[in-house]
């Protein structure tokens, strides 16, 4: 369809259709019909009117120098340090991957309340459901903490999912979580927002303007990446960002990644640079994606013979256990 639209651009429709072979013309008419019935197009009464609809500007920018952060925490005492990092950089979106035990929601509530005083706008919380909290417990918890937009309770007794206006609560029976489990590409993660699309055209949709601190206190691009840019005991986040290779992955776009560059979903998709089909090639396709754009089929990536070597390389063998 894009080819036809490009071809017909600025021409009178009847002329554009007239220039086509009978067979192509039938297809083009089908396209036009589709665009009109779905209210994706309308007829202009003049070339002047047509020309007053310019292509949309596809540039992307954000006021925040770091737009999102992932903090792995295994000790609640580290929260103070995280709060300082958020304030220093005005990070708007924060994800906490919590490894300490949450047995009591009242105690946890006091810890999360501290985020009310810093500048982040949203908070996602991933944790283990030690306390066997119900979806109702967690809904009530998130209602009391308006910054929470997502809570995932791993190791729950059942798989349940509930969404309110501002929050998604997920109970998952999946037992393990954290860095090894990140990076999965699937249709459920597609993002149709214009800002995601424009960011994707020029930047990496996972790592651009992201920062993270892993359980050991290493400052990284994301907890799953190997490279550390310093330890929080002797490096500030601002210093880590200024290190020469910190932004290396920020501008790797899908148009540069092999296979992805041919994929129709590339600019609404997520990405992963931590687990790759070819671990030696930073432009390789995400390992945990099973989509084949040449056959338009989704396959199970974790058992795919072509991916076995890479899975072993990253020691993700638990997948096949």
């Amino acid at each position: 369809m894009q080819i036809f639209i490009d071809f017909a651009h600025g021409q009178e429709l009847s002329k554009a259709l007239g220039a086509l072979e009978e067979e192509d013309k039938a297809v083009a008419e089908e396209y036009i019909d589709f665009l009109l019935t779905n209210e994706l197009a309308f007829y202009c009464s003049s070339l002047e009117e047509y020309n007053s609809f310019p292509a949309i500007d596809t540039s992307w920018d954000d006021a925040a120098s770091i737009t999102n952060a992932v903090f792995e925490i295994d000790d609640p005492n580290n929260i103070t340090h995280i709060l300082k990092s958020i304030s220093d950089l005005y990070i708007p979106c924060v994800q906490l991957i919590i490894h300490f035990s949450i047995d009591n929601l009242e105690v946890f509530s006091k810890q999360i309340k501290m985020f009310n005083d810093v500048s982040n706008k949203t908070l996602q919380i991933l944790f283990r459901n030690h306390g066997e909290f119900s979806i109702g417990d967690l809904l009530a918890f998130s209602a009391a903490h308006p910054k929470i937009e997502l809570m995932i309770a791993f190791g729950s007794k059942e798989n349940l999912w509930q969404e309110t206006n501002n929050t998604s609560i997920i109970l998952s029976t999946q037992n393990d979580y954290g860095s090894d489990y990140c990076g999965i590409v699937q249709a459920a993660y597609f993002n149709f927002k214009l800002s995601h699309y424009t960011e994707s055209l020029a930047h990496n949709t996972c790592l651009n303007r992201k920062i993270s601190i892993d359980t050991k206190g290493n400052i990284k691009n994301c907890p799953s990446m190997k490279e550390s840019f310093g330890h929080i005991s002797n490096t500030t986040l601002a210093e880590a960002i200024e290190k020469s290779s910190f932004k290396n992955y920020w501008n790797i776009t899908k148009d540069q990644v092999s296979v992805c560059r041919d994929c129709e979903f590339r600019h609404i998709c997520t990405d992963c640079r931590a687990y790759l089909d070819n671990p030696d090639d930073p432009y390789s396709k995400p390992l945990k994606c099973g989509y084949n754009p040449y056959t338009c089929e989704w396959e199970e990536w974790s058992t795919h013979p072509m991916k076995r070597q890479a899975i072993q390389h990253y020691q993700l063998n638990f997948l096949n256990a």
């Binding site: 007053s52 500007d57 006021a63």
Partner: protein, 324 residues
């Protein structure tokens, strides 16, 4: 320091402030509760005025203010004595009335003074007179829908035509919110229904020919830069962002040079250096002016058309030319 007069629930201000921070432009945000009696003293001396302000408990000289964004709220002055107005005491009432006049002079002076410092808008022009605006639109050569203000039923039929469905009615001034039984309702534009039930005489009401619209244009402007958005909605006037559960389609639009020149003249007649203009394009492609608003929402135009307006407003205060 840039002074921002906003409202606590205005999210657009939040986004602009993020860009202020990005460009390291110092600013102070005043919401509706912070804008009262901000003047500490004014001194007229040696051919100059020395104005000391007290903003959120912080002493600031007017000379330190480098820009003002009149976004929502207004500088106000109120005296504790105003409360006496409700009492049955004729003298207290008159004194309160006197203080009201004093306050009006103070407000006008401070607002005018602020509006001369690299200001976006001016609170003294917040309330555009809808009828004057229509007149200005005519003066600059914009088409407007055939409009009538009348008190007699026969005038509607005689002056605007017959078919009830082709006439709409709306408030002479701006949208007015009515609060009753715990709910708020706005007076939006409505099609004139059941002509036969209209009384023969009524109080001044506004009627307009209904334009068969193809799409609407909402145009945000900062000085002479215009950011237009075409809105495809079936509603009488596309104020609803959602329709049948779907997002209303909004796409970038580029206005002709003629229209641009007309709008530049219109905004100058309305004394607005920023705001948004509503227009309607009919089935024949003719463009009709509806209204101009000094403090309209621009967030969704910016988001849907990717105009980066938050950033552009911040840049206005950076003394850098705004890029189209």
């Amino acid at each position: 320091m840039v002074l921002i007069l906003s409202a606590s629930n205005d999210v657009s201000t939040d986004y602009v402030i993020e860009w202020f921070r990005h460009y390291k432009i110092p600013c102070i945000r005043l919401n509706e509760r912070d804008t009262g009696n901000i003047l500490a003293s004014v001194e007229f001396r040696n051919g100059k005025q020395f104005i000391a302000l007290n903003i959120k408990g912080q002493p600031i000289s007017m000379d330190d203010i480098t820009g003002v964004w009149f976004r929502r709220s207004t500088i106000t002055f109120t005296s504790a004595l105003s409360a006496h107005r409700k009492k049955e005491d004729a003298l207290a009432w008159q004194i309160a009335a006197l203080l009201d006049r004093e306050n009006r002079v103070l407000t006008e002076f401070i607002a005018t003074k602020l509006s001369t410092i690299n200001a976006l808008n001016n609170q003294l022009n917040y309330n555009t007179n809808k009828l004057l605006t229509l007149m200005y639109a005519q003066e600059v050569g914009l088409k407007i829908p055939h409009t009538l203000i009348a008190t007699v039923k026969d005038d509607i039929r005689n002056k605007l035509g017959n078919a009830d469905s082709e006439i709409i009615t709306k408030p002479i001034q701006d949208i007015f919110w009515l609060n009753y039984s715990g709910t708020s309702r706005a007076q939006y534009t409505a099609a004139l229904s059941e002509y036969s039930q209209i009384p023969d005489r009524f109080y001044y009401s506004l009627f307009q020919e209904r334009i068969e619209k193809k799409y609407e244009l909402r145009i945000f402007f900062i000085e002479e830069k215009f950011y237009a958005c075409a809105i495809f909605s079936k509603a009488t006037e596309g104020r609803n962002v959602y329709q049948d559960g779907k997002m209303v389609r909004m796409v970038p639009f580029s206005i002709s040079n003629t229209l641009k020149e007309q709008l530049v003249r219109l905004s100058s007649l309305c004394k607005l250096n920023s705001g948004s203009v509503d227009l309607m394009v009919d089935k024949q492609g003719d463009c009709y002016f509806l209204e101009i608003n000094p403090v309209g929402q621009f967030g969704y135009i910016s988001k849907e058309c990717n105009y980066h307006l938050d950033q552009k407003i911040a840049k206005f205060f950076q003394h850098e030319p705004v890029q189209q």
